[in-house]
Symmetry: C2
Subunit: 194 residues, 2 copies
Amino acid sequence: MRYSDTHKQETRQKVVKAAARSVRAKGPEGVSVAEVMAEAGLTHGGFYAHFPNKEALVAAAIEEAFGQSARHFGRVTDGLSKAEALATFVDLYVTPEHRAHPERGCPLAGLSSELPRQGPPVREAYERGVQRLVGRIVGWLPDGMADRESLAVSLVAEMAGIVALSRAIADDDEAERMLAAARGRIKHRMGIVQ
Amino acid sequence: MRYSDTHKQETRQKVVKAAARSVRAKGPEGVSVAEVMAEAGLTHGGFYAHFPNKEALVAAAIEEAFGQSARHFGRVTDGLSKAEALATFVDLYVTPEHRAHPERGCPLAGLSSELPRQGPPVREAYERGVQRLVGRIVGWLPDGMADRESLAVSLVAEMAGIVALSRAIADDDEAERMLAAARGRIKHRMGIVQ
DNA sequence: TGTACATCAGTGAACGCGCGTTCACTGATGTAC
DNA sequence: TGTACATCAGTGAACGCGCGTTCACTGATGTAC
């Protein structure tokens, strides 16, 4: 079974994508090498041809997850004004949809509490992702605004915090009310008039 | 070894306290029955005289952790005005100290992302703790204020979110600047003039 | 009063399972001669 | 042109370890007689 030049990279990418979903669904400790390989259509033994160990997979998965988010938000906000982009971001982030699907959601909302316990490679991938997300928000805040950096951090904390908190609330209606109210408050803080 | 009437309860309490620390330090999946029992000065076999299974321990640990927080904040805000209590709360919560010590910190900041994946008993203990924390903030917000409930939820999300986020930042100085800025923003949102 | 017995928190060996990791092997195909 | 060999992604059995859980046992003391 000799393969094409890109074959191995394609396989690796399939594995990383499966892991990116799994790590958000189950956390870094919940990711299973054998399960991820099976999702990519392979057996577990082949794993070590692609990664030195599980930690490297998790780090790649975190990077991929942030990358997916970034591309997604890049796509939907493309061509919008800054204020529109901000509003769109909040309307997609602080939602029942995001609450219900951590496996394809933002790693910051889904992994915030457990990532700091991970080893350096994973933490570094995570920190880069967080910084990039904050940077995107900074870029969307009005030019003249003071302390945009700290406001962006604060807003990201609130958005990720409210999504994580809403997942702790069993009652769907109550959770949705929380999210709706938070959406309004966040936009208000961004200087967006409803 | 016949024991006093309260002996078993005292032992259980020691185990729960050790677990409350461990669950915040390592997460629900990181808690080890044998390790917690050893911290309480016992061997692992005796565990099942106190709890039906590990999940029950984790649920009790979450409850204990929220209880410790509640008692702590109750003590330090006792006798203060509402505005003073709020300010004190923020000054204790959004701090490098809290960032550095998840094992004795707020479960919401330390477990937000992984708790929703736990079984019903654990999730219920967690949700009760979150609701109680939000309730405490509501009680401290000015009486006449509109939508106090949703503001409290939003503030709690931001506070827990920024502490969790700060733990992802490797650089201590940068993390401290984030926390200091967030402290100011949060107090401002609470209507507290600096 | 003294003795046999019941009680029960705690002990520690053992079991089963899942999981990360290792490793000898497979087998299709490109390449050297 | 045909053949032997090298390559290498992927396979699947096996290993070791940690962990939750079970269970027969211990031994100090209160209680029944």
